[in-house]
Symmetry: C2
Subunit: 365 residues, 2 copies
């Protein structure tokens, strides 16, 4: 089954389902994205430590990466990216890019001055300068960035906020989603809505109804894995995800561990992003088919084995744990490169293996 | 003309000469090295920010890299590198490696406790631990590292040291060279002697006589570009280099700028190493055919041009100055990678162009 999405050039193809889990293809003007998919995070116009060539090369073969509106707006700024022709040209990345709205970073990184019904005034975490984000400003920034998928600007209250704070944030997020839906977009730029509502199932489902009524190209679950119990995350995933419209892609924002991805896919999620593989790599935590390797551990001092003997990445085909440990302890740049390549390859293979299982064991759509 | 060197498996082939400048090939058991050659510096078992694949790939195509005995001995240490099979295996580098003796680093980085006729006792710049290097210890370390070319352990007095300090250092360096010549080496490991003597031509030539009498596989000029006037450096190069035996490779240690390399080649030098291309890259200084680019400069803020339009490296084929400036200012790891690749490619092309000129305009040997 294949459904056209509201934005011309985009369609979503469902190939197979296994329980709530789905295998499909998100077709975009810049190429097809096999789903479920993990999107490496390219915060500041670079997936940290990686070249575009490395991201594209199998077995990593990233079909889509994420860019952060908040970071790119503050540095280098639109006065650089616009004359350079947008984020794809600027970063030399020719495959799809999804940009977030800046909402999550404003609420987690910046010093908030005021939040009102129109938007958010905040100070940059880089230089303290004052800025204002509104739904329209976020959409204008994402339009200049020229991402293939833009996200609605939303309010992200802390996970432990009082119910009335949550309710006010939900009402604003819906009102802001309507304004984002009406704002101008770049040519060939899809827009996803974001369902908030914390860990209260009824609230989530109510907000889901408000967002899905707005005819977005896809739907995201936001505000999960932001400090709540993992059991609550999984409960919301289990109770909400499969009720999202089947004919649109579903995106779980900012999640998570390999086990989280497996749980999300089982619940019906199609798209993921997270800094975990890249950030953990730089901090010495490597994912393997036999569990995590904490590379500074003394046990790897003379270990001639690769990080993961089952991994086909260039790092595992070429380098020993002992060498990686030495590079890590010596703070060598090469360490971050090799570790990032491995962790991203692990995530890509993990999600692809789950996709293969759905295609093999599931029902053809 | 081709001469066998004292160590089996090594020979030096002279192809052409233009004045004192020479184009040749240093044949080693691990492959042929076209000379003049610039050797990227791989201090701690990695040319900073680069993979072996990148170093080997044209147009950079590094035929030999340098490893630092002092750094590798302190970290990861021989108790790691020896069981891993030596430096080539450890760092996954299958082409030739030249190791220095540790002398220069002991005298420039470590806290010296004592220098006597037998060797040097010093404290590690990493953890303050006490160690002792002697000619025999340096040779044993280089033997375990398994480099293709080892260097004699020498005393490196400061450039402004008093004449009697220089004389004592010279006498020790000659005595230590004799001891290095007698010390066991790895299979297929050549040994170069080092000519010291500061900026006094007569002293240099006298020491040259002492060192060249010891039948080393090649000869290095040490103790240049260590703070003296450039005019003095060039004078010594001009007056000494061509008097070194023509049938052995000549290596100018730790030098220098592109202009220094050109001057050294004109004087008859065959081999160079320097941290300048790699370190300058990380600090924002990029070499181009039209002079240096200081990438943080505001003039590059929206500059869509590559670092050097004439450069065939992947960085210049792919990325703009504006993007590199953004990565530099954002302290992104990718910046160091792209900049290092470019600067090393510039050095490699610079030296290769000079070699081509010698082959084209010089006299066939």
């Amino acid at each position: 089954m294949r459904w056209d999405l509201p934005t011309p050039g985009f369609s979503f193809e469902l190939l197979a389902a296994l329980g709530h889990a789905r295998a499909g293809i998100l077709h975009t003007p810049r190429g097809a994205i096999e789903t479920p998919v993990f999107m490496p995070v390219g915060t500041a116009g670079t997936v940290k430590a990686m070249t575009p060539d490395e991201l594209r090369a199998p077995p990593l073969d990233a079909k889509i990466i994420l860019g952060n509106t908040y970071h790119l707006y503050l540095r280098p700024g639109l006065d650089v990216i616009e004359p350079l022709g947008g984020l794809h040209e600027f970063a030399a990345w020719d495959r799809p890019i999804l940009t977030d709205s800046g909402g999550f970073q404003v609420f987690s990184l910046a010093a908030i001055n005021t939040v009102d019904d129109d938007g958010v005034t905040f100070r940059s975490h880089i230089d303290g300068s004052e800025h204002r984000l509104t739904p329209e400003v976020s959409m204008r920034i994402q339009s200049v960035l020229g991402s293939d998928i833009a996200m609605c600007f939303d309010e992200c209250p802390p996970g432990d906020a009082a119910p009335e704070v949550h309710e006010r944030a939900l009402a604003r997020t819906t009102a802001w989603a309507r304004r984002c839906r009406l704002a101008p977009r770049a040519n060939g730029q899809a827009l996803f809505g974001i369902v908030q509502g914390g860990t209260d199932t009824a609230r989530r489902l109510r907000h889901m109804g408000e967002i899905t009524a707005l005819d977005f190209d896809g739907h995201a679950l936001g505000g999960l894995a932001v400090g709540e119990n993992l059991a609550d995350t999984y409960r919301i995933l289990d109770e909400v995800t499969h009720q999202l419209p089947a004919e649109r892609p579903r995106y779980l924002m900012g999640v998570g561990t390999p086990a989280d991805l497996e749980h999300g896919i089982a619940a019906g999620i199609d798209m993921f992003d997270c800094v975990m593989p890249t950030r953990n790599a730089r901090n010495g935590y490597l994912f393997t088919s036999a569990g995590r390797v904490n590379i500074p551990n003394a046990q790897y001092k003379t270990d001639a084995a690769p990080i993961d003997a089952e991994c086909p990445c260039a790092t595992c085909r070429t380098h020993s744990r002992a060498y990686l440990r030495h590079l890590y302890l010596s703070r060598e740049i090469l360490y971050s490169r090799l570790a990032t390549l491995h962790n991203l390859t692990f995530y890509a293979r993990h999600v692809r293996a789950l996709r293969e299982r759905i295609l093999r064991d599931g029902q053809r759509a």
